[in-house]
């Protein structure tokens, strides 16, 4: 799933990511494009609270690509 929240400032990027994570199908990855640096921190807080793994890459001048995924489930032998 892809979400473009460029142009939005706090707390809206985080809010839109929260809504998207609730709709995210099992096994899929959410990719978010942001251009508001503090949103990286608020989305990280959200990811930690909701138990998602987060990765941040620079996507251009003042833009970042955030990937959110559920951690792999531990396999019981």
């Amino acid at each position: 799933m892809f979400l473009d929240v460029r142009g939005e400032i706090c707390p809206f990027p985080m809010k839109k990511v929260q809504e998207a994570l609730q709709r995210l199908p099992e096994g899929e990855v959410l990719e978010v494009l942001v251009d508001h640096p503090p949103a990286i921190d608020t989305i990280r807080m959200l990811a930690t609270r909701e138990g998602f793994l987060m990765d941040v890459q620079v996507a251009g001048s003042g833009e970042w690509r955030i990937t959110l995924r559920r951690p792999a489930k531990a396999v019981t032998p």
Binding site: G7, E8, I9, P11, P37, T42, R44, G62
Partner: protein, 390 residues
């Protein structure tokens, strides 16, 4: 546009230095404030909002640390300015304001406004330098709010502010007692923030693993990455702001923003024939008082313009500058409306999150604490407002 602002700052420093040697110092201080705000993403709005919304105290802890640094610095400087505090005269230029309903109402309106607009006054200024179109709209709203507050000022002054008491702690406790009490209160506030965080139940890994660096070249690259790459920790930002604030007071006055902005708003309005006229009682007050007239070139002008220029410079160096345009009209309304609330609130409360809070608590009055609590109340209401927005 960026180059124009940088050029304007350099020209102001060059022209101003011919009249007043401190212009260079205040131009540099303004740039310093802007660089630190941009690099550490130091946003007073998020300090309050994240604590309420996420139980995250990342920025608030930075704010508290910055005020502790400035408390020590201001205390020593005020001791030099006014050695015998018990005589009753407050140290010159200290951000000490009357404890009035206007202070509470102003803080409350400001708290709502900053959350709705998505940034306080200093936050809007540094984001103007980063290329946020919405922050320029907020800035217009702030000027309009300050003008409106100036038109109502004489009423506020006569009925609310003038009869209210001023409490400056060194008068009763001496400098040692006032500094110690303020530092203990800041420590208590810090512990309170930790307690709020602990109730959130999650530990957020704020910074990624350090970049491994063995060779000199790698170490240089890691240093550059720390300075212009990832954002600085809020605690580092707070300490540097507290230090710059102390330097600013030692040179002339603590860091303050909106008094100067009100001079711009009222000056433009006077030219347009809708100026507020004489503002009563402002000569009896210290800090971010509403202003009309006076000279154009002031230390405050250099601080405010320098802040935007400094943030722009830092954003360009960190490759974070970008023209950011809101996609929905609602955001423009939020910026403008929140700006007006902040302008009006800071007008009657004698300062914004900087002048009435970050510089006020270290000035050892009680007004900074009252304003801070009112801000938190307003931020709580502001959060309820934006939760309903798309």
């Amino acid at each position: 546009m960026g180059l124009v602002i940088l050029g304007a700052e350099a020209a102001l420093i060059a022209v101003g230095s011919r009249f007043d040697p401190l212009f260079g110092a205040f131009g540099a201080l303004g740039v310093g404030f802007g660089v630190v705000l941009q690099r550490s993403r130091f946003c007073f709005n998020s300090a309050f909002r994240d604590l309420l919304q996420f139980r995250s105290g990342r920025t608030m802890k930075g704010v508290i640390i910055g005020m502790a640094v400035a408390t020590a610095g201001f205390g020593m400087h005020m001791l030099n300015l006014q050695p015998n505090a018990s005589l009753g005269a407050i140290a010159p230029e200290a951000q000490v304001a009357p404890l009035s309903v206007a202070l509470v109402a102003g803080g409350f309106l400001f708290g709502i406004g900053m959350v709705v607009a998505g940034g306080c006054v200093s936050g809007s200024l540094y984001r103007m330098g980063e290329g946020y179109a919405g922050s320029w709209v907020s800035f217009g709203g702030i000027l309009a709010g300050l003008l409106l507050a100036s038109h109502h000022w004489n009423w506020w002054w006569r009925h609310i502010i003038q009869p209210s008491p001023v409490v400056w702690m060194p008068r009763y406790l001496g400098y040692g007692g006032a500094i110690a009490l303020t530092l203990v209160a800041l420590l208590a506030a810090y512990l309170f923030v930790l307690w709020v965080e602990s109730r959130g139940g999650v530990a957020v890994q704020e910074y990624g693993p350090p970049v491994p660096a063995v060779t000199f070249r790698e170490k240089l690259r890691a240093l550059a990455e720390g300075v212009v790459g990832r954002g600085w920790p809020a605690a580092v930002g707070g300490m540097l702001l507290g230090f710059l604030n102390t330097l600013s007071y030692m040179a002339h006055m603590p860091w303050r923003i909106v008094g100067e902005l009100s001079r711009w708003a009222n000056g433009l309005a006077t030219l347009a024939g809708i100026g507020p006229g004489r503002l009563e009682g402002t000569e009896n007050l210290s800090g971010c008082t509403l202003a009309v007239g006076g000279t154009v070139l002031t230390h405050g002008l250099l601080l405010d313009v320098g802040l935007v220029a400094g943030s722009l410079t830092a954003a360009l160096l960190a490759r974070e500058f970008k023209l950011r345009v809101p996609r929905t009209p609602v955001r423009y309304l939020q910026s403008a409306g929140g700006g007006v609330l902040m302008g009006y609130g800071s007008g009657i409360a004698l300062g914004c999150t900087v002048g009435a809070f970050f510089s006020a608590i270290p000035s050892l009055g009680l007004n900074g604490w009252v304003f801070g609590i009112a801000l938190a109340g307003g931020a709580f209401i502001g959060l309820r407002v934006i939760e309903r927005l798309p």
